[in-house]
Symmetry: C2
Subunit: 244 residues, 2 copies
């Protein structure tokens, strides 16, 4: 771990990688305290600011947390699912916005993943999850709702469906797919809004989930996916003539 080939620049990146590898390998267990910045500087034979830059890199990935004071220092952080959610969402959002991924591709991935989750959700859903889904569907039917609030409720509905599977790994993976789609869906609902249809489909899904009916849930999800793709196509068709 103390290896640090003196060849190039970017010392802080090398130090960060060394510590990161040690954490991944398990030689630095959770809640273990790292040496103080001064000690690390001595070990790696660099200055303290360089060590600090390395530690900030790790902190940005939630790999460590720091604490001031006498018994303070940098501690290996237990990476929690909630922390990873946020990273996953921002990464997914940036990936979509920076790589001109088509709406079709993003939507396809999103519903493929959600359909993978649904059979488990149907089987294990609690009354709590079902209540959340119904509450969100009900909120979406209210007339005075802004577009942003509608989309947020839409996301909450689908997250409840995903969480009903009771598998935190799945919830983590789906978080990025569902939440990152929100800005893209916003662009669409502005022009081609037909909330009744979406609310109806959401209600269908909630009903099927309540009956533990996996087949019906899946077919309603497919219908929702198809409808979303249709909306996108309409928007694209409506925009092209203006440019041509």
């Amino acid at each position: 771990m103390k290896i640090d080939p003196s060849n190039p620049a970017d010392l802080s990146a090398q130090i960060a990688k060394a510590i990161k590898d040690a954490i991944i390998a398990g030689s630095l267990p959770v809640d273990e305290r790292l040496p103080s910045e001064a000690e690390l500087a001595e070990q790696f034979d660099v200055s303290r600011p360089t060590v600090r830059e390395a530690l900030k890199r790790l902190a940005a990935q939630s790999l460590i947390r720091t604490q001031r004071g006498a018994t303070g220092g940098a501690f290996v952080n237990r990476l929690r699912f909630e922390d990873a959610y946020g990273q996953q969402i921002t990464t997914s959002t940036l990936l979509l916005s920076m790589n001109d991924v088509s709406f079709t591709t993003a939507c396809e991935a999103r519903y493929a993943l959600e359909r993978a989750c649904a059979p488990l959700s149907v089987q294990r859903r609690t009354a709590d999850h079902l209540a959340t889904m119904r509450a969100e569907a009900h909120r979406q039917a209210q007339p005075g709702l802004t577009d942003e609030a509608f989309c947020a409720s839409d996301v909450a509905f689908h997250r409840a469906l995903v969480d009903a599977a009771g598998n935190p790994v799945l919830s983590y993976q789906l978080a990025g797919a569902v939440e990152a789609m929100q800005p893209l869906m916003n662009m669409i609902t502005f022009t081609a809004r037909s909330r009744e249809r979406i609310v109806a489909l959401h209600t269908d899904i909630a009903n099927a989930v309540e009956r533990h009916d996996a087949t019906a849930t899946d077919s309603h999800l497919v219908a929702l996916s198809t409808y979303t793709q249709e909306l996108a196509q309409n928007v694209i068709d409506a925009r092209k003539p203006r440019k041509a």
Copy 2:
């Protein structure tokens, strides 16, 4: 973006967040050059080391890249899927190792996601993807293979299956699920190895994919999932009596 409430500590985190939000919001487009460290220090009214810590936080997330020299500086980085793969894999690995996720839960998530991907892969697979799958299956049948090499080939097989869907968003999501499972699978294959069975199932999958047979592919994936869970159960059962 220049807002920086002077209340608490952690200035570098605040600055990093301000820049990050600007990138997400799109006010800093890809390849845009940020002001120099000295200018940023002046704008935020902090010292240059603090600015540098903030920039290192962003660099750790691949949000910026830096370049030395006269025309150098920090540039908004186009987040590529390949870069995100690595982050996704390490995050997933750490999540699994630090949160005592049961093998059952992880395996369930992994195969649920892969089964979601498979129908698309079956439909769109190219000869190239199929060749990769067959090559890996063939390699797995060779006798002199180490456990590590077998697992690596196993991962390569499933990644080929996932990539065959031709959806980079799905490939990105699945990367974490498939690759993070490798260490867990290693623990099992050490004791209860029956590679013939796995190779046979892989061959079945490749055959079904070649025939564009989604139903058969899915059933073989289910068989593989079931068999993996059985293996894990055997290992658990074999370990408990020793302790009790």
